[in-house]
C-alpha cells in the first residue's frame, strides 16, 4: 500500500518535472526554428514558481476558483490510469481500475473543469475559446475513438496493459506498424490534442487573448500550467502505450515520450493556423477516413 502511494506520488512529481522540462525544450526548439536563441530549458520551472509566488490574485466565483483543481485532478487521473513501464507492477499505478473507454472519457474531466472555469470568468473571449475547443474536440475525438476501437478490437482487449503487452514481439509488432492507418489518424488527432498548429485555435493569442485561461492569474495560473504539463505527459504515455509498444525501461520511456513530444512541436512551428470550421472539417474527414480504413480491416 505504502509503496503504491509512493509510486503514485513519484509518478506525479516526475511527470510534472518531465512535462515542464519538455515544455521548456519545446520553447527552445521553436525559438531555434525562428532563428532565435530562445529561453533556458528550465524557463517553465521559473515561470511556474514565479506565478506560484505572486502575492495577489483574483477570482470570479466558485467554478472559477475550482477549475484549476478540476484541471489538475483530471490530468493526474489520466496519468495514473496509464501504466508507465512494462513489467514493473508498481508503476502501473491505478491502471487496473479501467480500460481504454474509461481513459477516453476521463480525459474530459479536466477539459470540462477548465471550460467551466473559463465560463465563470465571464470573459467573452474565454468562452469563445471554449466553444471552439469543444467543437474541435468533438471532431478529433471521432478519429481518435475510431482508431482506439480499431486497435482494441484488433487486439481483443480494451485494457491498456493488454494493448501494450500485445506489442512486445519486436518493433514490427508495434501498433503503428500493425495498424498504420489508425495510427496515422490518431497521430493527426494528437496535434489538436496538444493544441499544436495548425489546430491551435483554442489558445489563439492573436484574436482571443490566450483563450480559456484569459482571466486566470498568479497561483491559479500556475496550477493550470502544471495541469497542462501533467496532462501532456499523460497523453504522451497513452500514445506511447497505444502505438509505440509502451516502454520496457525508464530510458525508453523518456526517449519515446521525448520524440513523440517533439512531433507536434516541430509541426506546430512551421504551420499557420486553420480557421475553426476548417480545422473541424479537416479533422472530420482526413484522420477519420484514415482510421476507418483500419476499422474496416479489423471488421473484415
Amino acid at each position: 500500500m505504502l509503496t503504491n502511494f509512493t509510486s503514485i506520488a513519484l509518478t506525479i512529481v516526475g511527470a510534472l518535472a518531465w512535462g515542464l522540462l519538455l515544455g521548456g525544450i519545446s520553447r527552445s526548439v521553436t525559438a531555434r526554428v525562428h532563428g532565435r536563441i530562445g529561453p533556458r530549458v528550465t524557463q517553465n520551472f521559473i515561470d511556474i514558481w514565479k506565478l506560484f509566488r505572486k502575492t495577489s490574485s483574483i477570482h470570479h466565483g466558485g467554478m472559477f476558483w475550482m477549475a484549476p483543481m478540476f484541471r489538475i485532478t483530471g490530468a493526474i487521473c489520466v496519468l495514473l490510469m496509464v501504466p508507465l513501464v512494462i513489467g514493473q507492477n508498481i508503476t502501473c499505478n491505478m491502471s487496473f481500475a479501467g480500460d481504454v473507454f474509461l481513459l477516453i472519457y476521463i480525459m474530459f474531466f479536466g477539459c470540462l473543469g477548465m471550460a467551466l472555469g473559463a465560463g465563470n470568468s465571464g470573459h467573452p473571449y474565454a468562452v469563445i475559446a471554449v466553444s471552439r475547443g469543444l467543437a474541435q474536440m468533438s471532431a478529433y475525438e471521432l478519429s481518435f475513438s475510431i482508431a482506439v476501437v480499431a486497435i482494441a478490437v484488433g487486439l481483443h482487449t480494451f485494457r491498456v496493459e493488454g494493448i501494450v503487452a500485445a506489442q512486445q514481439a519486436g518493433i514490427t509488432s508495434w501498433n503503428i506498424f500493425r495498424f498504420p492507418f489508425a495510427s496515422a489518424g490518431m497521430l493527426i488527432a494528437f496535434l489538436p490534442m496538444q493544441m499544436a498548429y495548425p489546430f491551435g485555435i483554442v489558445l489563439a493569442p492573436q484574436e482571443i487573448p490566450i483563450g480559456p485561461p484569459t482571466e486566470y492569474s498568479s497561483r491559479m495560473l500556475s496550477f493550470m500550467f502544471s495541469g497542462r504539463a501533467l496532462f501532456g505527459v499523460a497523453k504522451l504515455l497513452l500514445f506511447v502505450g497505444l502505438l509505440f509498444g509502451g516502454a520496457s525501461s525508464w530510458l525508453s520511456l523518456l526517449v519515446k515520450t521525448f520524440l513523440l513530444y517533439m512531433y507536434p512541436v516541430v509541426v506546430s512551428s512551421v504551420f499557420p493556423r486553420f480557421r475553426t470550421e476548417q480545422s473541424i472539417r479537416f479533422l472530420w474527414f482526413v484522420p477519420t477516413t484514415l482510421a476507418l480504413v483500419d476499422l474496416v480491416r479489423v471488421m473484415l
Binding site: 470570479h60 472519457y105 465571464g122 466553444s131 469543444l134 474536440m137 475513438s145 485494457r159 497561483r219 475553426t276
Partner: protein
C-alpha cells in the same frame, strides 16, 4: 305503460306553451321545466326498468300503442333500452338549452319542445309512415328554429335544410308508396319481405334518404352548412336531439333494408370516413368541425351496419351515437361560434372532455365502443379496419387542433352554464365508465412483462419519477395554471402500466397517461402549438398501439406487423428519428415540472413498451434490432448536434432527451444481456439526470420567467444550489467518470463490440462526444458567463424544486460510485430472459468485467475524489486567498465593458460548428411533417371542393348518389 307514455310529456308542454300568452314567459318556462323534468324522471325510471345502464345488453324493449287501430292510423312505439338512453340524453340536452332559448328567443320554446317530441317519436317509431310523420315534424321544426334564431346566416342554413328535407320527403314518400304497393304493410319489418325490383327501388330510395339525413360522407354538404349557419344553441340542441334520433332511426332501418349484402354500407362508410375526415382537416369554424365529426360518426354507423349484427350492433351504435351527440352538444354549448369563445382555466378542460370523447380516448365510453368495434373489424375486415383507423386518426388531428386553437388564454371567465353542462356530462360519462369497468375487461396480472424484477424496476421508476415531480407543482410562473392533478393522473396510470396483463389494459393506461399529460402541458403559457403537436403525436402512437394490439388477436403482441406497429408507437413516444418534433415543441412550453415528468418519467413508458414487445413477440430479442440500433445511433447523433445549436434551455434539454433515448434504443436493439443491461442502466440514469436538469430548468424559469439563452447567464451567483445539482447532472450525462453516466456508455460500448456492430459504436461514441458541446452550452448559457441586469434580483429556486434535485444528485453520485448496487439487481433479472444472447458482465466486488474490458467505478471514484480533495486542501492551506472581483472586472483591453449583456457570449454559440456543418443538406423533420400535412390538406381541399355551399349542389349530390346506387345495385343483382 304510464311511465312509457310519460316520455311524451313534452308534447303536452309544447301545446301548453304555444297557447300560453307570450307575455308570461316565466309561467311558460316553469311549465316547460316541470314537464321536462317529469319526462326525464320517467325516462330514467324506464331505463332502470329496462336495465339500459348495463350497456352489455340493450335488447329489452317495451311496446307502446296509442290511438285506435293499427298503424299508420295509430302510433305504435317500441321503447328500446338503447333508445331510452338516447331519450335521457335528449331530455338532458333540452333542459340545459332551454335556458338559453328562453334568454335569446323566448318564442321558440314550443319549437324546442316540439323538436324533442319529434325526436322521441322518431326514436321509438316502429312504423314507416309514423316515421315519416315524425321526420317531417322534425325537419320543419328544425327549419323554424333556425329561422327564428338570431344569427346572420340563418336563412341560408334554413333554406338548405328545407331544400334537402323537401327532396327527402319526395324520395321517402316514393319509397313508402312502393313498399305499400308491394307488401300492403307499413311496418319497418315489412322492408325485409320485399323482393325483386321493388326491393331495389325501396332500398335505393331509403338509403339515399338515410345517407342524406344522417349526413354521411358524399351527402354531408348541407349538414356542414347547416351547422355553420345556424346558431350554436340551435345546432347544439339539434345535434343532441334530432340528429341523434335520426341516427338511431337509421340504425334501426339499415339492417332491415333488403340490400342483399350489407357490406356495401361498410364500404360507403369507410370510404366516406376517410374522405370526409381529410376534408375536415381544413375546417376552421366550430360548426363545420362538428359537421365533419357528425359525418364521421354517420360513416361509422354505416360501417357498423355493414359489418356487425344483433346485440353487438345495437350496443356499438347506441354507445357511439349517444355519447358523441352529448359531446357535440357540450361543444356547441361551450364553443359559441358567433362569439368565437375561447376557453381558459377550467373551461379549457371542460372543453377538452367532449373532444376526447369524440376522439375516442379512454377511459371515456366512446372508446370502449370503438375498441370493441375496431377489434371486430381487425379480426374480420382488415381493409375496412385500416380505413376506419385512418379516418379516426384524422378526426383526432382536427379535433385537437380545434381545441388548441380555442384554448388560448383569454380574460373571459368560464360561466356557470357550461360547467353545469359539463358536470352532467361528466357524471354520465363516469357512470357509464364505471359500469363498463366493472365488466372486467381489464387485467392487472402484469403478464406482459413476465420478469417480476424488470416489472418492479419499471414500477419503481414511474412511481419515483412522478413523486419527485410533485413537490414543485405549485411553483409555476404567473399565468400557468394548475396542472398537478393531471400530472398525478398521468403518473398514476404510468405506475400501474407495468402491471397490465393484456393489450386493452396496457392501451387504456397508456392513453390515460398520455392524454392526462397532454392536458397538463396545455396549462402552460403559450402552449397552444406545443399541445397540439403533442396531442397529434400521442394519438398517432396511440392509434399505432391500438392497431398493433388489435391485430395481435388476444395475445399482447405477435411477431410481424403488429410488433412493428407497436415498435413504431414506442419510437414515436420516444421521439426518435424525426418524430422528435413533439418533444421539442411540447417540452419548452409545458408548465413547471411537467417537462421533467414528460422527459424523465413518461418517456420511459416507450422503453417499457419496447421491452414488452421484445418479451412477448420473440421472447427477448427485439425484432429488427439492428435497424433500431442504427436509428438510435443516428438519432442520438442528430439530436445531440441540434441540441448544441438550440437557442432555448428547455428546447435543448428536449433535444438532449431525444438524443439520450437514442442510446437506450441502441442498447435494446442489441438483444444481448450486455446491451439490455446498458439500456436499463441508461434508462434509469436518464430518468435521474434528466429530471434533475428539467427540475433545475423549472426553477430557472420560475425565477426568471424565461428559458431563452439570450436572456439568461450568470445565474450561478444567484442560484448556486440549482447550479450545483445541474452541474452534477451534466457531468453525469456527459459520461465523465466518476459519475453515473459513464457506466451506461461503457456497458453499451462493450455490448456493441461484443456484437461486432462497430459502425454503430462509432456513431454512438461520436454522439456522446457531441453531447459535450451542449453540456457546456447548457451550463454556460444559463449559469456561467455574465449575469444580465435583467436577472439581477433573481433568487435561488424554491425548496420544493431543490429537494428533489438534491435527491437525484445524490442518486447520481451513488450510482456513479457504486454502480454494482444496480447491476447486481439488473444482471440476474436479465440473465433469466431466455431470448437474450451474449455473456453477462461479471461482477466481482466493485469490479465489472466483460470479455474485453474492465471497470472499477469505486476505485475511479476514490481516485478522482481523492485527488480533487487533495488539490482542494492544498489550495486552501497554502494561504493563498484570491480576491473576489466583480463580474465586469476583467482584462478588456483597458476598457470597461459597457454592460453585462454586451460581453455575454450567448447568441449563435457554436457558430464555427454550424459553419463546419454547412456542407450537409438541411433536412428538417419539421419540413417533412409539414409537407405531409400539406399533402393531406391538399387532398382535403380536393374533397372539400365538393361542398360548394350551394343548396342545389347538395340536391344534385343526393340525386347522383341515388343514380349511382341504382347503377351499382342493379348491376350487382
Amino acid at each position: 305503460m304510464v311511465k312509457a307514455l310519460a316520455v311524451f310529456l313534452p308534447l303536452l308542454g309544447a301545446f301548453i306553451n304555444a297557447w300560453l300568452p307570450g307575455k308570461s314567459p316565466k309561467a311558460s318556462r316553469a311549465v316547460s321545466y316541470i314537464l321536462l323534468t317529469a319526462g326525464l324522471a320517467a325516462a330514467v325510471m324506464l331505463s332502470i326498468q329496462l336495465d339500459a345502464w348495463n350497456l352489455n345488453d340493450l335488447s329489452n324493449s317495451v311496446i307502446l300503442s296509442t290511438g285506435v287501430g293499427t298503424p299508420p292510423l295509430s302510433i305504435n312505439l317500441e321503447i328500446t333500452a338503447g333508445g331510452i338512453l338516447a331519450a335521457i340524453a335528449m331530455y338532458a340536452a333540452t333542459i340545459f338549452s332551454l335556458h338559453r332559448f328562453a334568454l335569446t328567443t323566448p318564442r321558440s320554446q314550443p319549437l324546442v319542445l316540439g323538436l324533442l317530441t319529434a325526436s322521441l317519436g322518431l326514436l321509438f317509431a316502429t312504423d314507416i309512415f309514423n316515421s315519416f310523420v315524425f321526420l317531417e315534424i322534425g325537419s320543419i321544426i328544425t327549419i323554424g328554429l333556425t329561422a327564428a334564431c338570431k344569427c346572420g346566416s340563418r336563412w341560408e342554413a334554413a333554406i338548405k335544410a328545407a331544400l334537402v328535407s323537401g327532396l327527402v320527403t319526395i324520395l321517402y314518400l316514393l319509397a313508402v308508396a312502393a313498399l305499400y304497393r308491394s307488401t300492403g304493410m307499413l311496418t319497418l319489418e315489412a322492408l325485409g319481405t320485399l323482393t325483386g325490383g321493388s326491393a331495389i327501388l325501396v332500398t335505393i330510395l331509403l338509403l339515399t334518404v338515410i345517407v342524406t339525413e344522417i349526413k354521411a360522407f358524399p351527402l354531408t354538404g348541407w349538414g356542414l352548412d347547416f351547422y355553420q349557419g345556424t346558431s350554436s344553441i340551435v345546432a347544439g340542441l339539434y345535434s343532441a336531439t334530432w340528429s341523434l334520433a335520426v341516427l338511431l332511426w337509421a340504425a334501426k332501418v339499415l339492417p332491415l333494408l333488403p340490400i342483399g349484402n350489407p357490406i356495401i354500407y361498410a364500404w360507403i362508410g369507410a370510404a366516406g370516413l376517410v374522405f370526409s375526415q381529410l376534408a375536415g382537416l381544413r375546417a376552421s369554424s366550430s360548426g363545420r368541425i362538428m359537421g365533419y365529426s357528425t359525418s364521421a360518426y354517420a360513416s361509422l354507423l354505416l360501417v357498423a351496419a355493414g359489418t356487425t349484427t344483433g346485440a353487438f350492433y345495437t350496443q356499438i351504435v347506441v354507445v357511439l351515437m349517444v355519447f358523441s351527440s352529448i359531446a357535440k352538444f357540450s361543444l356547441f354549448m361551450l364553443g359559441n361560434p358567433e362569439r368565437k369563445d375561447k376557453w381558459s382555466g377550467f373551461g379549457t378542460i371542460l372543453f377538452l372532455v367532449p373532444i376526447l370523447l369524440l376522439a375516442g380516448i379512454p377511459p371515456l365510453p366512446v372508446f370502449w365502443a370503438k375498441f370493441d368495434f375496431l377489434a371486430h373489424l381487425a379480426s374480420s375486415f382488415p381493409v375496412i379496419f385500416y380505413a376506419v383507423l385512418t379516418g379516426l386518426f384524422l378526426e383526432a388531428v382536427y379535433l385537437f387542433r380545434f381545441w388548441s386553437e380555442r384554448s388560448e388564454k383569454t380574460n373571459e371567465k368560464s360561466s356557470s352554464k357550461p360547467s353545469a353542462v359539463a358536470a352532467v356530462l361528466l357524471m354520465l360519462v363516469a357512470g357509464i365508465w364505471i359500469t363498463r369497468m366493472s365488466w372486467g375487461a381489464l387485467d392487472f396480472s402484469g403478464s406482459i412483462i413476465a420478469s417480476p424484477g424488470l416489472r418492479n424496476i419499471f414500477h419503481g421508476l414511474f412511481a419515483i419519477g412522478t413523486l419527485l415531480c410533485l413537490p414543485g407543482v405549485f411553483n409555476r410562473i404567473g399565468r400557468e395554471k394548475n396542472y398537478w392533478f393531471w400530472l398525478l393522473i398521468s403518473g398514476a396510470a404510468l405506475t400501474i402500466l407495468p402491471a397490465a396483463g393484456n393489450g386493452i389494459t396496457f392501451f387504456l393506461l397508456w392513453e390515460i397517461s398520455a392524454f392526462a399529460a397532454v392536458i397538463g402541458v396545455s396549462k402552460g403559457v403559450g402552449a397552444k402549438k406545443g399541445t397540439f403537436w403533442y396531442a397529434v403525436f400521442a394519438s398517432l402512437s396511440g392509434y399505432l398501439l391500438l392497431a398493433g394490439i388489435l391485430l395481435s388477436k388476444g395475445s399482447f403482441v405477435i411477431a410481424g406487423l403488429p410488433a412493428l406497429l407497436l415498435t413504431i408507437a414506442a419510437l414515436v413516444k420516444m421521439g426518435q428519428f424525426g418524430t422528435h418534433l413533439w418533444n421539442i415543441r411540447a417540452y419548452p412550453v409545458a408548465p413547471g415540472t411537467m417537462p421533467a415528468f414528460l422527459s424523465g418519467t413518461a418517456s420511459k413508458a416507450a422503453v417499457l413498451l419496447l421491452v414488452a414487445v421484445a418479451l412477448n413477440a420473440t421472447g427477448g430479442a427485439l425484432p429488427w434490432g439492428r435497424v433500431l440500433a442504427w436509428m438510435g445511433a443516428l438519432t442520438a447523433l442528430g439530436a445531440a448536434t441540434l441540441a448544441a445549436l438550440a437557442p432555448d434551455y428547455r428546447k435543448m434539454l428536449a433535444y438532449a432527451s431525444v438524443s439520450q433515448l437514442g442510446f437506450v434504443l441502441m442498447g435494446l436493439g442489441l438483444a444481448s444481456i450486455l446491451g439490455w443491461t446498458a439500456a436499463f442502466y441508461h434508462t434509469i440514469h436518464h430518468l435521474i439526470f434528466k429530471m434533475a436538469l428539467f427540475l433545475g430548468a423549472a426553477g430557472v424559469v420560475y425565477r426568471t420567467g424565461t428559458s431563452e439563452f439570450n436572456n439568461l447567464g450568470g445565474l450561478v451567483k444567484k442560484m448556486p444550489w440549482t447550479f450545483a445539482f445541474t452541474l452534477i447532472a451534466v457531468i453525469s450525462f456527459a459520461s465523465v467518470p466518476p459519475l453515473a453516466g459513464f457506466g451506461g456508455k461503457w456497458l453499451l460500448y462493450n455490448g456493441l463490440v461484443e456484437a461486432g456492430w462497430l459502425p454503430v459504436l462509432i456513431v454512438g461514441m461520436f454522439a456522446s462526444v457531441v453531447a459535450f458541446l451542449y453540456s457546456f452550452r447548457l451550463l454556460h448559457g444559463v449559469f456561467l458567463g455574465q449575469l444580465s441586469p435583467k436577472n439581477a434580483h433573481t433568487k435561488e429556486a424554491p425548496l420544493p424544486l431543490l429537494i428533489p434535485q438534491a435527491i437525484l444528485a445524490m442518486a447520481i453520485m451513488a450510482l456513479g460510485f457504486k454502480p454494482t448496487l444496480l447491476l447486481n439487481i439488473l444482471v440476474p433479472a436479465l440473465e433469466a430472459i431466455p431470448g437474450l444472447s451474449g455473456l453477462a458482465p461479471v461482477i466481482q466486488g466493485d469490479m465489472v468485467l466483460t470479455t474485453m474490458g474492465t471497470w472499477n467505478a469505486w476505485m475511479v471514484g476514490l481516485m478522482v475524489m481523492g485527488f480533487f480533495g487533495f488539490a482542494f486542501v492544498f489550495y486552501w492551506i497554502s494561504g493563498h486567498k484570491p480576491k473576489y472581483v466583480g463580474q465586469l472586472d476583467m482584462g478588456f483591453a483597458g476598457e470597461m465593458p459597457p454592460s453585462a449583456d454586451e460581453v455575454h457570449y450567448s447568441n449563435n454559440f457554436f457558430r464555427p460548428y454550424r459553419r463546419a456543418l454547412s456542407f450537409l443538406p438541411k433536412i428538417h423533420a419539421e419540413k417533412i411533417f409539414n409537407g405531409a400535412a400539406k399533402t393531406f390538406n391538399m387532398l382535403g381541399d380536393g374533397v372539400r371542393a365538393m361542398f360548394t355551399g350551394d343548396g342545389r349542389t347538395y340536391l344534385a349530390h343526393s340525386l347522383l348518389f341515388l343514380l349511382l346506387l341504382f347503377v351499382f345495385l342493379n348491376g350487382g343483382m
